[in-house]
C-alpha cells in the first residue's frame, strides 16, 4: 500500500519554501533589478549557483554548518533552533536551492519595467516601499506567478539535498523523491511507480501551465 505521507510532506515543504521565497526572494529581486553596485554581478552569480552546484556539495556544507558541534549550529542552539533532521532545516536548504527560480524571473521582469513608472509614483509622493508593493509588483504579476510555480515545482523535485540533510524521517524529511528512492532500493517497484507517476504528472502540468501563461502574457504585450 502506498503511504500518502511523503506526498503530503512534499506539498507542505514546497508550499512553505515558496512562501518564504516570496518574502525573501522578491525584495532581493527588487534590489538586483535596480541596483548598480559593483558587487551586483557577484550577488547575481551567488543566486544562480544552485542551478549548477551539486546538491551533495551544498548538502555537505549545510550538514557541517547545522551540526550542533558546528559554529552556526551552536549559535542556533542558544535559541533552541535545530536545523538538522528537521522540517525547518529542509526548508532552509530548499529556499537556498530554489532561490534562482524565484529571483531570476522576477528580477528580469522588474528591470524591464520602464523607470518612469517608479518615478511617477515617487513624484506622486509615494515611498520606495509603497511603490514597489503597489506599483511594480502588480505590474509583473505573470512573472511573480511563474516564479512561484517554478519554485514550488523545483522544491518538489529536490532530492540530493534532502538525502544529505534529512535523515529519512517519516513525516519530517521523507519526501516523495526520497520515498521513491527507498522503494526502488527495497525493490518495491509498484509503490515507486505510484509516487513517480504522481510527481511526473504534477511537474508536467506545472510547467505546461507556466508555458501557456507566458505565451498568454506575450500575446497581451504584443
Amino acid at each position: 500500500m502506498i503511504d500518502l505521507q511523503p506526498l503530503w510532506l512534499t506539498a507542505r515543504l514546497a508550499a512553505t519554501t515558496t512562501a518564504i521565497l516570496l518574502l525573501l526572494g522578491v525584495p532581493l529581486a527588487g534590489w538586483l533589478a535596480h541596483s548598480r553596485r559593483w558587487y551586483k554581478p557577484l550577488l547575481e552569480t551567488l543566486v544562480a549557483m544552485p542551478l549548477v552546484l551539486p546538491p551533495s556539495v551544498l548538502g555537505f556544507y549545510l550538514l557541517l554548518a547545522f551540526a550542533p558541534t558546528g559554529p552556526l549550529g551552536q549559535w542556533l542552539q542558544r535559541f533552541d533552533i535545530r536545523l538538522l533532521f528537521s522540517f525547518s532545516g529542509l526548508v532552509v536548504g530548499s529556499v537556498l536551492f530554489s532561490l534562482p527560480f524565484m529571483v531570476q524571473p522576477v528580477a528580469a521582469a522588474l528591470s524591464s519595467l520602464p523607470d518612469s513608472l517608479r518615478e511617477a509614483a515617487y513624484t506622486l509622493g509615494k515611498s520606495r516601499l509603497h511603490t514597489f508593493v503597489r506599483v511594480e509588483l502588480p505590474c509583473i504579476r505573470p512573472a511573480l506567478v511563474a516564479g512561484m510555480v517554478m519554485s514550488f515545482a523545483h522544491t518538489v523535485g529536490e532530492f540530493g539535498l534532502v538525502l544529505m540533510l534529512g535523515g529519512n524521517i517519516p513525516g519530517v524529511s521523507r519526501v516523495a523523491s526520497i520515498a521513491i528512492y527507498n522503494e526502488v532500493e527495497a525493490l518495491n517497484y509498484a509503490t515507486a511507480h505510484v509516487y513517480a507517476a504522481v510527481l511526473c504528472s504534477f511537474s508536467f502540468l506545472v510547467v505546461l501551465a507556466v508555458n501557456l501563461l507566458r505565451r498568454h502574457g506575450e500575446r497581451l504585450a504584443a
Binding site: L64, F66, A67, P68, T69, L84, F85, V184
Partner: protein
C-alpha cells in the same frame, strides 16, 4: 582487468585492507564500490557489472541467487557486530540503555529497508524496550556509513553502527562506543556471492577464495567481525 566488487558499507575499511593485501599477494587489482546492501541488490538486478558482492546479510545474496544472478551459492565470510557509538561527552557505555533513554539528541541507524544493520538496530531497541523513547528520535542514513557520518559530524548524538566502522583507523580517538549484546538481535550473517559477470573474469573467483584465506580472516577479525 581489475575485479569489480560491490561492498556493503559496513565492510568498507576492512575490505580496503583486504584488497591491498590481495593485490600485493596476487598482483590483481581490485575496484570496490561501496553502498547499502539493498542498493547494490537493486543495481545487480538491473544488470550492474559487479563480479563479487560482499553483503551485510545473508538474505540479499540469497535473493540474488534465486534471481539467477550468481554463479555459485553464496558463502558466509563474516559475522557482523553492532555497537552503539557516540561522540557526546556525557555518553556512558556502562549505562547505555538509561543514557539512551534519557538523552534528547538524534540516534542514527542505517535505513532498515535496505541495510541489515539498520533492521537489527530496530530489533535491539525492541529488545530493551527502548522503542517508545528512541524511535521518535531516529534518523536514517542511506546506508550504515552515512549513519556513522551523522554521528561523527555531531549531527546525531549517538548511532547504532557496525563495529568494523568504529575500529577503523579513521575513527580512532573519535568518541566512545559500547558493544551491543548479541542476544538482543539476530546474528548478522554476512554472505558474499560471485555474480554472473564473474564468469568472464577468473580473478574474481580468486578474490572470492582469498576472502576465506587466513590473511583475510585475520583482517576481518581485526575489524571486530566474528568468523564463520
Amino acid at each position: 582487468g581489475p575485479v569489480k566488487v560491490a561492498v556493503a558499507a559496513n565492510v568498507q575499511y576492512a575490505f580496503a585492507d583486504i584488497a591491498t593485501a590481495f593485490t600485493r599477494d596476487t598482483g590483481v587489482a581490485v575496484e570496490p564500490s561501496y553502498a547499502s546492501s539493498g542498493k547494490i541488490a537493486t543495481q545487480v538486478l538491473a544488470g550492474a557489472p559487479f563480479e563479487l558482492f560482499l553483503s551485510a546479510d545473508d538474505e540479499t545474496p540469497r535473493k540474488l541467487a534465486a534471481a539467477s544472478q550468481t554463479v555459485q551459492p553464496p558463502k558466509t565470510y563474516a559475522l557482523g557486530a553492532l555497537v552503539l557509538w557516540s561522540t557526546d561527552n556525557s555518553f556512558d557505555g556502562k549505562q547505555w540503555q538509561n543514557w539512551l533513554k534519557a538523552a534528547s539528541g538524534k540516534v542514527a541507524i542505517a535505513n532498515p529497508q535496505t541495510a541489515p544493520y539498520g533492521a537489527e538496530a530496530l530489533r535491539v531497541l525492541d529488545y530493551y524496550k527502548l522503542a517508545d523513547s528512541v524511535k521518535p528520535r531516529l534518523v536514517q542514513g542511506d546506508n550504515i556509513a552515512q549513519a556513522a557520518q551523522f554521528v561523527d559530524s555531531g549531527a546525531a548524538q549517538a548511532g547504532f553502527v557496525a563495529k568494523a566502522l568504529v575500529l577503523a583507523p579513521q575513527m580512532q580517538g573519535k568518541g566512545r562506543w559500547v558493544d551491543v549484546p548479541e542476544q538482543s538481535h539476530q546474528p548478522i550473517v554476512q554472505d558474499m556471492a560471485l555474480l554472473k559477470p564473474a564468469a568472464a573474469n577468473p580473478d574474481a573467483r580468486k578474490l572470492f577464495d582469498y576472502l576465506s584465506s587466513p590473511a583475510a580472516r585475520a583482517i576481518l577479525q581485526r575489524y571486530g567481525y566474528r568468523l564463520p
